[in-house]
Each structure stands twice: as structure tokens, then as C-alpha cells.
């Protein structure tokens, strides 16, 4: 308080003047920021706002993928806006709040988890007309993408996104931990019993090492066991429609046979026998000390523990290759195999892509931009360092995985072809309520060891969510 500024008392007039000056500065500042706002199309330039599930530093790096588009469209600037979150549910909450606040982006990244949510709420623009119009231009893209990924982007017969990437729930394993207990690479058609034997042996090493670990979420959780056991949380069905797409792009592709207008998730079946049995299996593994009690969330911690060689096996997709590499795991210290067989070897997957917001005033321009993203070069720029599996099969090369591993990288894409019954995660329009209920009931079961009671609760939660939408 000895500063000269505070020595003399300030007069009221002086205070008011200072206040007015501050207000003026704030006003001018606000005005300046409003003038520099890039949401509109001032001075003949346009900005395409793209919302992505990433921090802003990562989002800024994606600008490279817009270079060819910006060069071809002078005066148009693409801005990637990053939004962070613990999982997709968290990202959607923030994005929906942003949209409700009148600040909708033109384009947003939406994974399978939210596709039906955005479509059912009338937020996403169907791409049917654009795709039909530019069919010739898109033929090479569709020829390179498995139809299962395209079907996962459809809802009520309409196509809402062009898949850019996906991740199937495969099984990662630590090569050194398996070697330590005298086990080699599991066979392609290994079974749940084989898995159990390996997990048991690794856990017997003691210390903090566990044979198997997992996280509570919809993708690649105990839900992978549920799929392999022939169960699902919701009744499976397909929406009619989509023939135009299958006839245009996949006319003679056996993998497209039976494909329709998107997955139609019906009545909840969360307490059906195969589902209860699957969750019970997780409880059994935990009781036997083969797996710890799982965390809730996106799985970053799990990757850290795996990289620290504390986990023998865990469910992961193509994104684990980059994740484990970035966490310090050397190529060769981990590998991947298909998910083990229970009643079947059916896998689950989630796909990613970009959708155009219905409210966007720049829909045509947004579509032109989306098309440029589908090139192999831009898809690589969107996901550098193997942090996902590209939707274009031609991008799956030995060179791509040369630095990160795993050795058997072919498993990622071959899951779709080798196991045609593989399906997307059940993500209905009420996905958010479903994700909350799933987390709640899974942790309840893992805490008290009562799978049936917890899944009866989940069934009731899902029935309520389905009614209220």
C-alpha cells in the first residue's frame, strides 16, 4: 500500500472517470473482438467452423488437412475448434450446450455413439442428396471402405456421415508378460478358456500385475464379452432404406448383402441371459484376482498401466497402437489379436466421421470440405501417429505401423472381413442416458457382485430412457 497510486485518496469524480474509462476500454475491447469474430462472413470471407473432440492444440494441428480445400476455395477459412471431455458423452454434452446457445458449428465430428442422437434431434443434415449428386466422385472412396462402417453411419434410411475411421474391440497383449509365463501369441480362433488360462498365469506373477484389465464404458468394455456371448443391451434391427447406396456403391459386394438403412435399436434386453452371464464373468475374474475393479472413463489410465507392463491383456482398437507408442512402449513389446471366441467371435466396433449441422448456413461448402477430407493424405493428417484405424483399407500398410507396431496390425481391419457378424455398439438416440445408466449399473455390479440385480436396474433405466427419449 506504499505505492504512490494509493497514497492520495481518489476523488469520487476521479473514481467515476476511471470507471467510465475502464468501461470504455472493455466496450472497445468487446467491439474489437466482435469485429474480429470469425463466425460470419465479413469482408467477403467465410469461415467453416469444425468442432472436434480434442484439445485446442491438437485441433490446431488439423488445419493441415484443410490446406488443399482452402487453396481451392479462396476466401474460405476452415477453423477446427477443439472441445475436451472425459468421453464422447461429455463431448456431446458440451457440443449440444454450444448448439443450444446459438453457437452451432458448421461441421462436427460425431462417432457412432452420437450419430443417432444428432440425427434424431434433427441437428444433423442427411447427406443422401450430396452423395447421389457426386456419386462418380465418391466411387473410389466407397470401394475402399467396408460397408459395415457405412451402414453404422445411417439412421432411418439416410446417410449422415462418411466414415473416416473406426475401432473394433480387439485384444491387446503384452508380449513380454506372456513370454514370462511361457505363453506365445494366442491363435486367431482362441477361446474364452484360452484367454482365462493366460490371464490366470499372468496374474500369478503377483505384485501389481494383473492378467486382464478393462474400463467401464459402452465401447470395448464388458460389452465386448456380451457381443461374443451373443447378447446385446438392445434388440437389434435395421431401418428400411439405403438401397440407393448399396446398389450404387456396393452392387456385387457380398459384405454389403443384408445391409439396410442403419441399425434400429429396439426394446432393451439388458437383463437377458447372455448379458447377465457376460457381466457375471467380469465379476468372476475380479473375485479371482485376474482383473481389478475397473475405472470409469475413456481408458487413458488403462493405456498407461498397460504401457507400464502391469496388465497382461486388455481390449483395445487401432487407437491403442498410437496410444501405447506415445506412452513409451516399443514396437514389439505389445501385439494384438482378435477378441476370443465365446459363443461366437463377434466383435463390436465404433466408427468416426464428420457430420454437417442442419443449421449451418454453409452446408454446400461444408460438403465440399468433407469430400476433401476423404483422401488418404487428409485422413492421415486428421489422425497422425496411428491414433485410430482409417476407414480406407488401402491405408492399412506395413509402412504405416512400422514405427509404432503392433506386428499383427492387419487384425484391426480384418476383424470386419473375418467376422461379418461384427456390429457397431448399440447407440440409440437416447445414448447419453444409456451411457450414464450403463456406467452406474456396471459399477454397482462390480461393487456388490450382483450382476442380475444390477442389470435388472439397467433394464428399467433403459426402458425409461427409451420412453422419455
Amino acid at each position: 500500500m506504499s505505492s504512490g497510486l494509493f497514497k492520495a485518496p481518489m476523488s469520487r469524480r476521479g473514481l467515476l472517470r476511471a470507471g467510465a474509462a475502464s468501461a470504455a476500454v472493455a466496450g472497445v475491447g468487446g467491439l474489437a473482438s466482435a469485429c474480429s469474430s470469425d463466425s460470419g462472413s465479413s469482408s467477403g470471407s467465410k469461415v467453416l467452423n469444425v468442432a472436434v473432440f480434442a484439445d485446442q492444440a491438437t485441433a490446431n494441428k488439423l488445419n493441415k488437412a484443410a490446406a488443399t480445400f482452402e487453396a481451392a476455395h479462396p476466401g474460405v477459412k476452415v477453423k477446427f475448434n477443439g472441445t475436451t471431455g472425459t468421453d464422447w458423452n461429455d463431448f456431446f454434452s458440451k457440443l449440444l450446450t454450444q448448439i443450444a446457445g446459438g453457437n452451432a458449428p458448421d461441421i462436427t465430428s460425431v462417432a457412432t455413439e452420437g450419430l443417432q442422437l444428432f440425427a434424431a434431434k434433427g441437428l444433423a443434415q442427411p447427406l443422401d442428396d450430396y452423395v447421389k449428386r457426386d456419386a462418380a466422385e465418391l466411387k473410389s472412396y466407397f470401394a475402399d471402405v467396408h460397408p459395415a462402417l457405412v451402414e453404422a453411419m445411417m439412421y432411418q434410411g439416410h446417410l449422415y456421415e462418411l466414415p473416416t475411421d473406426f475401432n473394433a474391440g480387439n485384444m491387446f497383449y503384452s508380449t513380454s508378460l506372456l513370454e514370462d509365463v511361457g505363453v506365445g501369441r494366442p491363435a486367431d480362433d482362441w477361446t474364452r478358456d484360452d484367454f482365462y488360462d493366460i490371464a490366470k498365469k499372468v496374474s500369478a506373477k503377483g505384485g501389481n500385475t494383473v492378467g486382464y484389465d478393462w474400463v467401464v464404458r459402452l465401447w470395448g468394455s464388458w460389452t465386448s464379452w456380451m457381443y461374443a456371448n451373443g447378447g446385446n443391451l438392445l434388440t437389434e434391427g435395421k431401418w428400411d432404406g439405403g438401397d440407393w447406396l448399396w446398389n450404387t456403391f456396393y452392387p456385387n459386394d457380398p459384405a454389403a448383402a443384408g445391409r439396410k438403412g442403419g441399425w434400429r435399436w429396439g426394446d432393451p434386453t439388458a437383463n437377458s441371459a447372455p448379458v447377465v452371464e457376460s457381466l457375471d464373468y467380469m465379476i468372476q475374474l475380479q473375485k479371482e484376482g485376474v482383473a481389478p475393479k475397473p475405472d470409469v472413463g475413456g481408458g487413458t489410465t488403462l493405456q498407461g498401466l498397460f504401457a507400464g507392463n502391469k496388465i497382461g491383456m486388455s481390449i483395445g482398437g487401432g487407437f491403442w497402437a498410437g496410444g501405447l507408442h506415445n506412452a513409451g512402449m516399443a514396437d514389439g513389446s505389445f501385439d494384438v489379436q482378435y477378441f476370443p471366441k465365446w459363443r461366437s467371435q463377434r466383435h463390436l466396433f465404433g466408427s468416426g466421421g464428420f457430420g454437417i449441422l442442419k443449421k449451418s448456413p454453409n452446408k454446400d461448402l461444408a460438403w465440399e470440405f468433407l469430400k476433401t477430407l476423404l483422401s488418404a493424405k487428409n485422413l492421415s493428417l486428421l489422425a497422425p501417429g496411428n491414433v485410430t484405424t482409417p476407414a480406407r483399407k488401402s491405408m492399412m500398410t506395413a509402412e504405416k505401423y512400422a514405427t509404432t507396431g503392433p506386428k499383427h496390425w492387419q487384425v484391426f481391419y480384418d476383424t470386419l472381413t473375418k467376422f461379418p457378424e461384427t456390429a457397431p455398439i448399440p447407440a440409440p438416440p437416447y445414448y447419453q442416458a444409456m451411457a450414464i445408466a450403463l456406467n452406474k449399473r456396471t459399477t454397482e455390479a462390480m461393487s456388490n457382485g450382483k450382476a442380475k440385480a444390477a442389470l435388472d436396474g439397467l433394464q428399467s433405466d433403459l426402458e425409461t430412457a427409451a420412453k422419455t427419449g
Binding site: 449440444l96 434433427g122 475393479k293 475397473p294 475405472d295 447419453q432 452406474k440 462390480m446 461393487s447
Partner: protein, 330 residues
């Protein structure tokens, strides 16, 4: 405004003493003085209102308006995307039979009682220890140490604590393991998660009650304490019969504010347990958040908020009513 005064001075009566400004008659001078005083008072009042207005605008925009909005919104069905639809009291009707709401209120009340009791008891205990035994420097050190966690955001602390208490690789279980003690399911068992949340909340908020009690104990009348000492009162008797009654208004304040805060507990369960395992730490504000921002049921979430507001109002009223029997203001 000062112009008329100058005019009057200019028309001073003849015969006034030279070298001095002409003086108005006494009654007129009094009236002028009063008018000037009144003008000054008005200016000061205006200045005061202007100063208060800025704070008032903030309170109205960020507190009063949202409260009114949530009362209004509770009568609508609104997903924030389509237009709101008036449903009258339907949201409240649904709420009455919603077990999730009842359960969350019970969970929140349970957590709030545990946290407030511990906060008040520990805060008072520590304040007594520090006030009695410690030197001024040590007292200040303790004040700073206990108050420091309050300065950090609850969310940041919860993230750190989620790692500290992690079942698999948490620091606490690591040391338990080193000591060959059984590991504790801090966050993945019902009891463990509840205890952890209580511990973290108490640890973070303890500084507030501690500072309050240190101040209250420091302001106790010395003559009363001295008289009690001369009369041979034991330490325990002095605490229960003299100190505690004298600081009872502080106890009331700490418990009321603590209860209002903890009934709105969100950060710790959201970050550390997501309300689990199951719904064992599923607080009402967490339910409000998920209902509004994840399930997009803003009307229903507002109705739950209104109920929580009413519950808080009733609890506070009860606290004040009961306080008449145990709080001494003189």
C-alpha cells in the same frame, strides 16, 4: 446547480462590511445550508446507488435471473434444441415418483451431515489446539496451511485425489502394500467411495471453519475466562460451559453455510466416482447436471433444482428455529 447561490451572493444587501462577501439573513442562510446539505446528500446517495448498482447487476444477471428462469423452466419440457413446451406441474408430478431424485436427496443429505459434522468438529478442535498451545507464528502457519486447499478449485483437487485414492496405483494403496496391509477399495466400493468423498470435501473445506473458530475464540471476553479460571473451572468445564456457548453463533453460521454448500456437492463425485459405484455417491446436483446437460431435459432438471432449493430453505429454517435453544448472542 451552484449557480443560484452565486446569484444570491451578487445581490447582497447594501451596508454589508467591505472586504467580506455580503451575507444573507440568518434564516435564509440556514435554508441555503440545508439545501446544500440535501444536494450533497442526494449526490452521495446517487453515488452510493451507482456503486451498488454494478454489484446488483451482477447478482441479478448471474443469480436472481437464473433462479427465476429455473422456476419458470420447471413448468416446461425443453431439450434446448426444440421450442419449450408448457407442461404445468407435470415435471413435479414425475419427480414425486422418481426414485433417482429421492435417492439422490438421501445420498446428498447423508454426505452433507457427515461432512458438516466433521468440518465443524475438526475445525473447532484444531482452532482450540492452535489457540491454546501455539505461538502467534505457528498460529499463522496453521491458518495458512489449513486455508490453502480452499484456494484451489474443487475440480482440480478431485482429479489429484482420484489418483491418490486409485485402487490400483494410488499412493495410499501403494504405501498400504509396502506395509503389507490390505489394500482398500477407496473408490470402487460403496463405503470406500462415500468415505473418500467425505474425506476430500472435509479436507478442502476445513480451513474455512478453522479460520472462523480461530477468530471466534480470539474474540472471547478475557474477563469472563479469567473469572472462570479464578473460580477453578477445569478446561473441559470452561469449554462446555463458557467457550462453546459464547461461540455458538459461529457454530450456527459454520454449520448453516456448510450445509448449504455440501447439499450442492458436485465436483468431488463428478470427478472421482461419477456418482458410483452404482449410485452410492450420486448427489442431487450431479443428477441435475446429467438430467439437464446430458439427457437434455432442462425443464425436469429445473424442477429438481427447485425441489433442492425448497429442501435447503426448510433445512436452514429448521436450523435457525432450533438455534433459538442453543445459540447465545450475548
Amino acid at each position: 446547480m451552484a449557480q443560484p447561490v452565486r446569484n444570491r451572493r451578487a445581490s447582497a444587501p447594501p451596508g454589508a462590511r467591505p472586504g467580506r462577501p455580503p451575507q444573507p439573513p440568518a434564516d435564509e442562510a440556514t435554508a441555503l445550508r440545508r439545501r446544500a446539505q440535501s444536494r450533497r446528500a442526494r449526490r452521495e446517495a446517487l453515488f452510493g446507488y451507482a456503486m451498488v448498482a454494478s454489484a446488483l447487476v451482477v447478482v441479478v444477471v448471474f443469480t436472481v435471473a437464473p433462479i427465476i428462469a429455473s422456476f419458470v423452466l420447471a413448468l416446461f419440457k425443453w431439450d434446448a434444441i426444440s421450442s419449450p413446451q408448457f407442461v404445468g406441474l407435470d415435471n413435479f408430478d414425475t419427480l414425486l415418483s422418481d426414485k433417482a431424485v429421492t435417492h439422490s436427496l438421501l445420498v446428498t443429505s447423508g454426505l452433507a451431515v457427515m461432512i458438516v459434522v466433521l468440518q465443524v468438529a475438526l475445525g473447532l478442535g484444531l482452532a482450540l489446539l492452535v489457540a491454546q498451545r501455539a505461538s502467534k507464528i505457528v498460529q499463522n502457519l496453521f491458518r495458512a496451511a489449513f486455508f490453502l486447499p480452499m484456494l484451489a478449485s474443487a475440480a482440480s483437487i478431485s482429479i489429484v485425489m482420484a489418483y491418490v485414492f486409485n485402487d490400483q496405483f494410488g499412493v495410499i494403496n501403494y504405501y498400504l502394500n509396502l506395509l503389507h496391509l490390505p489394500q482398500v477399495s477407496w473408490l470402487s466400493s460403496t463405503g470406500g467411495a462415500t468415505a473418500t468423498i467425505v474425506l476430500v470435501a472435509v479436507w478442502q473445506q476445513l480451513g474455512f471453519t478453522f479460520i472462523l473458530f480461530v477468530a471466534a475464540l480470539a474474540s472471547l471476553p478475557g474477563d469472563v475466562l479469567e473469572a472462570a479460571q479464578i473460580d477453578g473451572a477445569s478446561s473441559a468445564r470452561m469449554f462446555w460451559r463458557i467457550k462453546l456457548p459464547l461461540i455458538s453463533p459461529t457454530v450456527l453460521f459454520a454449520s448453516t453455510v456448510g450445509l448449504i454448500n455440501t447439499m450442492q456437492l458436485f465436483d468431488q463425485p463428478y470427478v472421482m466416482t461419477k456418482g458410483g459405484p452404482g449410485d452410492s455417491t450420486y448427489t442431487t446436483v450431479l443428477l441435475v447436471y446429467q438430467t439437464a446437460f446430458q439427457n437434455l431435459q432442462f425443464g425436469y432438471a429445473s424442477a429438481i433444482s427447485v425441489v433442492l432449493f425448497a429442501v435447503l430453505l426448510v433445512i436452514t429454517a429448521l436450523q435457525f428455529t432450533a438455534s433459538r435453544k442453543w445459540v447465545f448472542y450475548s
